[in-house]
């Protein structure tokens, strides 16, 4: 469209990864915010806790990402008032898809990974494109380092084909600590080659006992 020029969007980079296990989910993202060859800040969280068992990590344009996170948080507050309970992760997954598609012709420039526990307490990961196409998977990577990370996850966690009948569980066989270690490794590797990934890694682990956060320093160059 005529008025929609390059200036409307900015790519602030960043990488998001989520891995679902049998009774946990790991969501991680780096904390670098860049534009072009400049680093704007080294400590900017891309992860938003939306519900007790639902966490969203997004990379892309920071302005859109913050607007999206605020919108979803507000929608979740309304949901709590109306239903007197926390939204489930599959419900939040659908809401995020609808929210993105609502702006199909003026999209949020945001690449999302939603992680959490489903209604049975199993780990779940939803992965999106900018306009709301989404899929439940066992693991996913989005953002500037996704091309470096996704093949490694495929190699390490090969999930059963989605074509198989009856459908198999997509959750990974790894233990929680193994999954966290894998996430640390893939980010350390992506940081070596992707200029938009680095500085610090924020890891969020969701399991039956709640949400845990931990940090790992990454290369700063």
């Amino acid at each position: 469209m005529a008025l929609r020029g390059d200036w409307m969007y900015e790519n602030n980079g960043g990488t998001c990864v989520a891995i679902a296990g049998i009774d946990y989910c790991v969501v991680a993202a780096d904390t670098r915010l860049s534009v072009g060859y400049s680093i704007l800040t080294r400590d900017h969280s891309k992860i938003c806790s939306l519900a007790d068992k639902c966490v969203l990590a997004s990379s892309g344009f920071q302005g859109d990402i913050r607007a999206l996170h605020k919108h979803l948080s507000a929608r979740h507050l309304l949901y709590q008032h109306q239903h007197n309970k926390q939204m489930s992760c599959p419900a939040m997954g659908q809401l995020l898809s609808n929210t993105l598609y609502y702006k199909r012709f003026f999209p949020y420039y945001a690449f999302n990974v939603l992680g959490g526990l489903d209604n049975e307490g199993k780990g779940c990961v939803y992965t999106y494109d900018a306009v709301g196409s989404y899929e439940r998977v066992g693991y996913s990577a989005q953002g500037s380092g996704s091309t470096l990370i996704m093949p490694v996850l495929d190699n390490q966690l090969k999930s059963p084909s989605p074509l198989l009948l009856p459908a198999r569980d997509a959750v990974t066989p790894l233990s929680e600590t193994e999954a966290v270690d894998l996430v640390k490794d893939v980010f350390a590797s992506a940081t070596e080659r992707d200029i938009y990934t680095g500085d610090k890694l924020e890891i969020v682990v969701i399991n039956a006992s709640g949400i845990k956060r931990e940090y790992l320093e990454l290369r700063k160059d």
Partner: protein, 271 residues
């Protein structure tokens, strides 16, 4: 109005960048205009995505031991012409915040009208509450992002600093709504030239004197390398005690470096 064919302009065309109108024949006129006012319709061109005219260059700011320090020059450039030389680009907002602006000066002045109104209306509650730097930053984030969503941005990069409840705050927002906080910040050229210096020399426990020294080092680099900067600077500080915006002053420059006097010397292959 009886015999004329009427076309009703719509806002649907606004996003498309060209006017979209609905045409109605005379007999359908009554029905078509039944829902709208019969007053004559004035159509104004809606201007969006303007270019900046008078612009300010970098602002740099950082936290130090007891507050936040911010600095900029006082130039207002008209393209590459230095059109205005004493534009104050650092202002106070309420009791706990200072704001520094680069980019379009008129848009900054418009922003100051928004902020002054915001502060005034908040004061009128007279409930003892006041807006801190975090609130002002949040307000501006929404203003900037909303204006970009209307294809009508405020052409600025803004830096906000302040102290409230013993908490130092330093944040920035740009014309499309990207916003973040850090211990030290710079806009425009400052991001390339000043921040690397700040990253290697900044400490949390810098005294005011040390902070001024560091800021002046950055300003001097910008003065030498940013052609739209001028040697007339303002430094502002904000602490728990209050705000001070110092009157403009100049830095001592030295142009006697051999590479300034003869840039091609020692650079084989140039003229």
């Amino acid at each position: 109005m009886q015999n004329v064919e009427i076309s009703i302009p719509t806002l649907n065309g606004w996003l498309l960048g060209y006017p979209v109108t609905y045409l109605f024949s005379n007999e359908k006129l009554k029905k078509a205009t039944g829902v709208v006012s019969m007053q004559s319709l004035h159509i104004y061109k809606i201007y969006v995505t303007r270019y900046p005219y008078v612009t300010g260059t970098s602002v740099i700011a950082m936290k130090y031991k007891d507050g936040v320090i911010m600095a900029s020059d006082t130039a207002g450039s008209y393209g590459s012409t230095l059109r205005y030389k004493s534009v104050e680009r650092i202002k106070t907002v309420g009791d706990h915040t200072i704001i520094g602006a680069s980019g379009e000066i008129s848009d900054f002045q418009e922003i100051m009208r928004y902020l002054d109104e915001l502060i005034l209306y908040d004061k009128m509650w007279d409930d003892g509450n006041s807006l801190g730097p975090k609130e002002v930053h949040n307000y501006l984030n929404r203003i900037m992002y909303n204006r970009r969503n209307k294809f009508n941005p405020l052409y600025n990069s803004l830096v906000l600093g302040g102290v409230k409840n013993g908490q130092k705050y330093l944040g920035t927002v740009n014309m499309i709504g990207t916003h973040y906080e850090d211990d030290h910040l710079a806009t425009g050229f400052g991001n390339h030239l000043a921040r690397p210096i700040l990253r290697s020399e900044w400490r949390e426990d810098l005294t005011f004197e040390e902070a001024v020294k560091l800021i002046e080092k950055c300003l001097l680099v910008l003065l030498y390398r940013d052609r739209s900067s001028i040697n007339k600077f303002q430094i502002a500080k904000i602490t728990a005690e209050g705000t001070t915006i110092h009157p403009p002053y100049s830095l001592r420059t030295y142009w006697g470096f051999s590479h300034f006097q003869n840039p091609s010397k020692g650079a084989a292959g140039t003229w």
